[in-house]
């Protein structure tokens, strides 16, 4: 087992796609973690004159109201990562749990779980989020992430279920059963490893989905009552006609960041597929 792990690491380190993907995500993560320490202003401070293009003083310029875009950007990046990570993790975890259980167990458990999944699936997520957001006076980024996570899992559950169903019919699952392994162990040591790259893709999609849902919520004014996010930045930029006014430094960076982060994770996914699948590896 030890040898196997180090071997996967070996191939992972050698994979260009994976390296590029990790590099980009790490870059933004670094910026999200350490950027705020370099920011000279708080994101909502009125730092100086408005309409300023990037300069030595204001690295990414200022907004219409003279807020420092760089400060907003790095703090926003932080909350975007938080939303993506927390929301994506919750959705992925629930989706995997329900999907595996339903697919592997089958029978009545499957029918009940899928009924529940379908119910959650048809509830209009956005409406639910709007209602919840409207009822809560104080809303932080973390709470927003949890909401998103708890509503975004159903399609993951369905996809994982169908994958599990197909893997379950493979003989190695039968072999594990006649080795006396318990169902949960079979799921964890036989089925899950076959889906690792798939699980990762699910996580990426949920990560990106959570970021986008958060941005949408922010956009319609139901975002965090305090703090800043990339979505909020874009909303304000659009709201104050930043593009039309030629203030590219305000509107473009948050868009690029979101695209780059999600894109890089897709890249990582393809790379990981090659790492986990020994057949692809040899080519």
């Amino acid at each position: 087992m030890k040898f196997r792990k180090s071997e996967i690491l070996f191939f992972a380190l050698r994979n260009t796609k994976l390296r590029i993907g990790v590099f980009i995500v790490a870059l933004f993560a670094f910026l999200a973690i350490f950027g705020p320490y370099f920011a000279k202003y708080e994101p909502q401070d009125f730092a100086g004159p408005g309409y300023n293009p990037p300069s030595g003083e204001y690295w990414l310029g200022t907004t219409t109201f003279g807020r420092d875009v760089f400060s907003q950007f790095v703090y926003g990046l932080r909350s975007t990562f938080l939303v993506g990570f927390v929301g994506g993790s919750i959705a992925t975890f629930i989706g995997l749990f329900v999907g595996f259980l339903s697919g592997y167990k089958g029978g009545l458990a499957d029918e009940l779980l899928m009924m529940f999944t379908n119910i959650v699936l048809v509830i209009p997520t956005m409406a639910l989020l709007i209602i919840l957001a409207a009822y809560l006076k104080y809303r932080g980024v973390f709470l927003e992430s949890v909401f998103i996570g708890f509503t975004a899992w159903p399609w993951t559950a369905r996809a994982v279920r169908s994958q599990t169903l197909s893997l379950k019919t493979r003989e190695f699952v039968n072999l594990a059963r006649i080795t006396g392994m318990k169902p949960l162990k079979i799921i964890v040591v036989e089925i899950l490893p076959n889906m690792l790259s798939y699980v990762f893709m699910v996580f990426i999609l949920q990560f990106g989905g959570a970021i986008l849902t958060a941005a949408t919520l922010d956009f319609i004014g139901l975002g965090p009552t305090q703090g800043i996010s990339l979505g909020l930045m874009m909303q304000q930029a659009v709201l104050w006609n930043a593009i039309q006014l030629g203030m590219w430094w305000w509107a473009v960076p948050p868009g690029i960041a979101i695209t780059a982060i999600v894109g890089a994770m897709y890249f990582m996914n393809t790379g990981l597929d090659e790492v986990f699948n020994p057949k692809l590896r040899e080519m």
């Binding site: 039968n174 072999l175 076959n194």
Partner: protein, 313 residues
């Protein structure tokens, strides 16, 4: 050693399980120590279903399986695990039997962690090498390799070796050589025959009559879930009494005899007037109105047939 009593398996199909499909219909037989029994049948005969029920991979609808006198339905949890210490299986598709993302020898590791956690790595290694030797594999060529780097024959032999690591007394071998190449399949068969000498009992499931003849002591001919003929292999093959067995034997391609006729009555469609009749009724050249479903008739010692007109065959 292991005994099936009136085993029936009904699958529910369609919405709300309304359509019923009887895959195995009242099958009984037993396997003694150190015996190889061939379960011979075409696709849809229920042979794989029987193997899976004996491995407790699918539930039985009706009937009983007794292992050393104990009812299999009572084996649960730890007891079931103990059952698998003695009863093992090898399946048809060697490539699907291995988890493609792990090294092939992981199947041995899993046996160790489930059944022999107390052994040290070195002690276990000795067992593995022993088992590999008894299936004629060179450890150097098969250990530390991924499944796709090995041939089907090597993989099947590893799976047999895996069964040998346990105290396997009874092995279900389900079409284990049908996906192998001609030049290697006979070696796998010979391994089974050798293991039998050491006291292993084997249920050899196959659609290939010549393989059944080559290796087994007794043969059971299965058609659409029912036993058509059963008995000592030599008797069944030299004096086939059921029209179905005869048809099968005539259809087997051989290299010492050409097909004399090309006639093979094939099953067309399910007819409603065949309910309650012999399962082979609509294909049988001898069928008459009296051919109702028929239990096994003892014709001579170790030879049973499910056809009341066996004398006319």
């Amino acid at each position: 050693m292991i005994e099936l009593k009136d085993i029936t398996k009904v699958y529910s199909l369609g919405a709300f399980g309304k359509r019923k499909l009887t895959a195995v219909d009242n099958v009984s037989f037993s396997i003694g120590e150190g015996k190889i029994i061939s379960l011979i049948g075409e696709s849809g005969s229920g042979k794989t279903t029987i193997g899976k029920m004996m491995l407790k991979l699918i539930p039985i609808t009706k009937g009983q399986i007794l292992f050393q006198g104990k009812d299999l339905s009572l084996f649960k949890g730890e007891k079931l695990k103990e059952y698998y210490r003695y009863v093992q299986g090898v399946f048809q598709d060697p490539f699907s039997s291995f988890n493609p993302i792990f090294k092939a020898d992981r199947i041995f590791e899993l046996v160790k962690s489930e059944f022999f956690p107390e052994l040290t790595g070195r002690e276990w290694q000795i067992h593995v090498l022993d088992a590999l030797e008894s299936v004629g594999l060179n450890p150097k060529t098969v250990l530390n390799k991924f499944p796709h780097q090995l041939s089907g024959g090597q993989l099947q032999r590893m799976l047999i070796a895996r069964a040998l690591l346990l105290d396997t007394k009874f092995l279900v071998a389900d079409e284990i050589i049908s996906m192998l190449d001609a030049s290697t399949r006979i070696d796998v068969l010979n391994i089974l025959a050798e293991l039998k000498k050491g006291g292993l009992s084997i249920l050899f499931i196959t659609h290939d009559l010549s393989l059944g003849y080559y290796i087994s002591d007794e043969s059971i001919i299965l058609y659409r879930g029912s036993v058509m003929e059963a008995g000592k292999t030599e008797k069944v093959f030299s004096t086939p009494l059921h029209p179905y067995t005869r048809m099968l034997l005539d259809a087997v391609p051989r290299i010492d005899r050409k097909w004399t006729t090309f006639e093979t009555p094939e099953r067309k469609a399910v007819r409603s007037d065949t309910i309650g009749m012999c399962k082979y009724y609509d294909r049988c050249p001898l069928a008459t109105k009296e051919c109702e479903a028929q239990g096994l008739i003892k014709v001579e010692e170790d030879h049973h047939v499910a056809c009341w007109r066996w004398n006319d065959v």
